[in-house]
Symmetry: C2
Subunit: 285 residues, 2 copies
Amino acid sequence: MAAVIAHLGPRGTFSEQAALAYQTWLQENQGQDSSLMAYPSILQAIQAVDQEAATLAIVPVENSIEGSVAVTLDTLWQLASLQIQQALVLPIRHNLITHAHRTEQIEAIYSHPQALGQCQQWITRHCPQAILVPTRSTAESLRHLEDNATTAAIASTWAADLYQLPVLARTINDQPDNCTKFWILGKSPSTQGNHTSLAFSLPINAPGALLKPLEIFAQADINLSRIESRPTKRSLGEYLFFLDLEASLTAVHTQQTLQAIEDCTEQLKLFGSYDTIPIARPAVE
Amino acid sequence: MAAVIAHLGPRGTFSEQAALAYQTWLQENQGQDSSLMAYPSILQAIQAVDQEAATLAIVPVENSIEGSVAVTLDTLWQLASLQIQQALVLPIRHNLITHAHRTEQIEAIYSHPQALGQCQQWITRHCPQAILVPTRSTAESLRHLEDNATTAAIASTWAADLYQLPVLARTINDQPDNCTKFWILGKSPSTQGNHTSLAFSLPINAPGALLKPLEIFAQADINLSRIESRPTKRSLGEYLFFLDLEASLTAVHTQQTLQAIEDCTEQLKLFGSYDTIPIARPAVE
C-alpha cells in the first residue's frame, strides 16, 4: 500500500522539497510507493499522522541559523504516539523573486519570518527601503507578487519555476552553509539507528537539576549532539529538555543508562533511534 | 536629561505596555523622565541603543508558553556594547477583537505568530473555520479589521481601547499564567543585582562539553535559573549557551567561578547583573 507523506504546504515549500527527496529515497531503498499531502501548518501535518490520515509526516526540526522549530518539539512531546523514523538534512538557498528589474524598485518583501531573518544582511544592503512582511511559508509569499513590480518574495528557485516567476537575485542567504534538519515521524516503533532523541522534565524546577542527567550520560560515555530547552507552559522558569544522543536504543548499554536517567527525571519520553538518510543533492535546487 | 526608551511598535503592542510600566518605575524610583520611541522590529530597537539613537531598549526575552525570543538573544551576543539594566515580567492577556457579533462569522484571524500559538486551543474550539494570518505584532493585527465583520485580531484590551475597536471575547489565551519577561538594555555597566546573565561557546562542538561549566556552577553552589541553546550560525550542531545565574557580579565568589568558566569555554560574554523590578499590575490591562 502506498504511504501518504504529510508536509507543510502549499506547493513550493522547502518542506515539500524535503518530502520529494524522502519519497525518492523510500522508493529506491525500500521499494515503497508514496504520495505527498500538503497541510497548512506543521501542527496539522503532525496531527494527520497521529489521527492516521497520513502514514508519515516530514517536518523541520532545526535550522542552522534560526535554531529549533518550537512547534515540532512541543507537538512531539504532547503526542505520545509518534516516533522519529529517519532524519534528513536539506541545504537551504534563498532567492529574491520579483517582477522588478532593479532592487531599488522594491517596496515590500514577503516571506516566512525565518527566511526574512536568514537574508537580513543582504536585504539591508540591497533593499534598505523595503518593508518586510511575514507569510506562513516561503511558497505562500509568491502569491503576493501578482503583476506588481514593487513587491518581492523570498523562496527557492524551484518554487519560482513552479509558479513561473522571475528570479532577480540568487542565493541571497547571509550564511552559505544554511541547512535545515527534518524529522520523518510515524507510528512504527523506532529502535534501529545511531541517533536517539528524547525529552524530559525535571523534578526540581531549576536547570541546576539538569546536571545529574548530563553527568549520567558523560559517565556512560554517551555523547550528546544537541540539547534544547522548551518551556513546560506551566509557568515561567519551568523547562523541558530535548536531547539528541549518539547512541542506539538496541544497545544494552543505552538501555541501562536510560534507566538511570528515568530515576532522576520527572517525565521521560523516548522518540526513538534513527539514522540520517543521505541525499546526494536536494531533489531540486 | 530625559531618557529615550526604544520598544517594538506600533502603538498598542505588549512591548509598549512593558515600556509604559518601566517608564512609571523610572520616574517613581529614580526620578528619571523618559520618552518612548517605537521601532518596527526588535532588532531595530536594540540597534538604536547600540548606535546611541536611544538610551535604553525594552525587549521581550522569554514567554512562558512560546519560549525564548531568538532575535533578542542573538543580537545581544552580536553587539558587545549592551548590558542588561533590569528585568520586568508582564502578564499577557489575549482578546478577540472584531466587528463580528458571533465567532461563527469570522473567516480570518490576524495576530503575531506567538499570540496565535498561545490561543490555539480556544481558536480550534470557537473559530475552527478561521484561517490564521501572521502579523509583525499584535497591535499591527488591528489594522486588518477595518469595517469587515469577517475578520478578527488578537491583542490586548488596551490596544482595542486605543484604536476604539470592539472586544468580542476576553482572556482567550489557553494558559491563564501566560507572561513575558522583558530585559531593559543599555550601555551603562551592570554589576548590581541578584541575577547574572551570560552566554558562551564551547571549544568542542558538542553539548557534551557543556558538562564542565555546569559542574563548575554546581560545585560553586550557584543556581542556574535558565539555560538556552542557540545555533552559532556557522554550521548545524554548533551551539551557544545562554545562562541565567542566581548570583551577583559584585560577589568575589561569582568572579572566581566565572574565571574557571572562562578557562573551559571558547568565548564568554557577560551581560551584567540586574534585578527584576516589581510591577504591581500591568500599566494597563
